[in-house]
């Protein structure tokens, strides 16, 4: 292969989810098989890089000051679902079950990886709470050690900023699944999170 090809492949390989083979395949595809696609891909990348930014309010992807969800007047702005990453937001949106708004932290506290509160989108959340627009904060962060610690951090250092109800998303059995195939940790949290029937 040529030096320029290898350089391209190296850059592709650094992208998440791509290994040596797949980066080679993509490089070959763009340069040899379908070179016509290259120009449109480059311009799409440039256009997206120029246009896409973080929503000022919630941290979601946006092309103006506000993202589509924050700009939507029909969404309940008093209800804020806190998620770790944008794909978490997309997953909840796809469910169609949530009509409130979001707040994307873009990470969770993890001193091991050098992530502190200053690296997270916390200041904007504080601003929203202090402005009094938030009635309930739904913590939809993962239930690992770092996710739980981030929840503790948020509740102790933001909740006091206004009259605020804080809830944690439920962890339990997947819908359509029985108890038989659930692992013991999931079963335990499903039992702990049980609720009254009727």
């Amino acid at each position: 292969m040529t030096p320029a090809f290898e350089k391209l492949q190296q850059h592709l390989k650094q992208l998440p989810g791509l290994g040596y083979r797949s980066s080679e395949r993509i490089a070959l595809h763009l340069l040899v098989e379908k070179p016509a696609r290259l120009a449109s891909l480059v311009s799409a990348l440039e256009a997206a890089a120029a246009a896409v930014r973080r929503c000022d309010r919630c941290g979601n992807l946006a092309e103006g000051p506000l993202c589509g969800i924050c700009a939507d007047e029909r969404r309940d702005r008093g209800l804020v679902c806190v998620v770790e990453h944008v794909p978490d937001l997309v997953a909840i949106e796809r469910s169609g079950a949530f009509r409130g708004t979001y707040h994307v932290l873009h990470g969770k506290l993890s001193p091991i990886h050098g992530v502190g509160p200053g690296d997270l989108n916390v200041a904007a959340l504080r601003g929203r709470i202090e402005a009094g627009e938030v009635g309930e904060l739904i913590l939809a962060l993962p239930n690992d050690v770092e996710g739980e610690a981030t929840c503790h951090y948020l509740t102790e250092h933001l909740a006091g900023a206004g009259e605020l109800k804080t809830t944690r998303i439920g962890f339990g059995l997947p819908s359509g699944g029985g108890v038989l195939y659930a692992d013991s940790v999931t079963l335990k949290s499903a039992l702990e999170g049980r609720r009254g029937y009727h």
Binding site: P111, I112, V145, E148, D183, S184, V185
Partner: protein, 362 residues
Amino acid sequence: MRLRKLTLRHFRNAGFAALEFTGRQHFLVGANGQGKTNLLEAAGLVTALRSFRTTENKLLVGHGQHCAALAYVIEHERQGETHVTLKLRHDGKELWCDQARVTKLAEHLGKFPTVVFSSQDLQLVRGSPAQRRRWLDLTLAAMDAGYLRALQTATRALAERNALLKSGRASAAELGAFEQTLAPAAAELIARRGAGLKTLEKSMQAAYAQIADAAEPASLVYEPNFAEASAEALLARLESGRARDQQFRTTLTGPHRDDFHFTVKHTAAKDFASEGQQRSLVLALRIAQAAWFHEKSGVRPVLLADDVLGELDPARRARFWSALDPEAQIIATGTHLPAAELGAWQVFEVADGVFAEKEAVS
């Protein structure tokens, strides 16, 4: 459970070996360095995919090979005949149970219990607290998914808190966030360790009395670093210790600094017990571990005795064998066969990684 068949390929010095175990007691006899312990190591790997001799996979794979394979046929109290296959590479392990790939270690742990009696066990009396904690964690986690989960949570939360302390920029808010996660898990560990050691102590005392055949009371004493098994108390302690922890850049309080010790005749065994007493104590502890596994899982562990009796007098040796669970399968190694009065043994002669069955001695 009973191990009925064990096949090794490219494991340590064994190029290929297939052993069929009949009866309940099996003895591997041979000179030093022939591969007797390797077979016990292979048998013990089925429990937690950990060797009792090394943490490096590389050492388990035969020289010049890139993959070792172990196949077990097990007669199991609950699952009937079970086939387990374990492949070891330099960089990882693969496990199959009845042809199905097992990817979660937590689901495998404790299903196929074995207990190894090794001369290295003396380290449990004489060695560092870290060695004792590791033994205790493995023993308790093997039969208790709740313990394993608490241990994983506490270990991770502690590592995060320590990373924060090391960074030198720890804010009270961040420390608090990880303490809130650490404290309940740590409190659970303290409670479960206390209860577990109590149970283990009971059967250890009975086994010790039998091996030592003397009126010497023995005990197992838990030394928690922080004695109160309550999340609130531990949380308060972590909070009040922040300044000191920040100075030392590590967490100074918690179950990660726990220890336990043995006593004989009410004095610390580490300092005052004789060699024979110390050896008897760890044998008794292993017997207690086997009883714990059996009680918790309903599965009788296979006992793997690696030339442990060398230093004991003949009377203690005989009493050790009779202190073992009379229904448990025993695979033992040694340079000499055990005395004839200890029942029938299936004997394998081991030379240079080759195992040859000998006619049974009576």
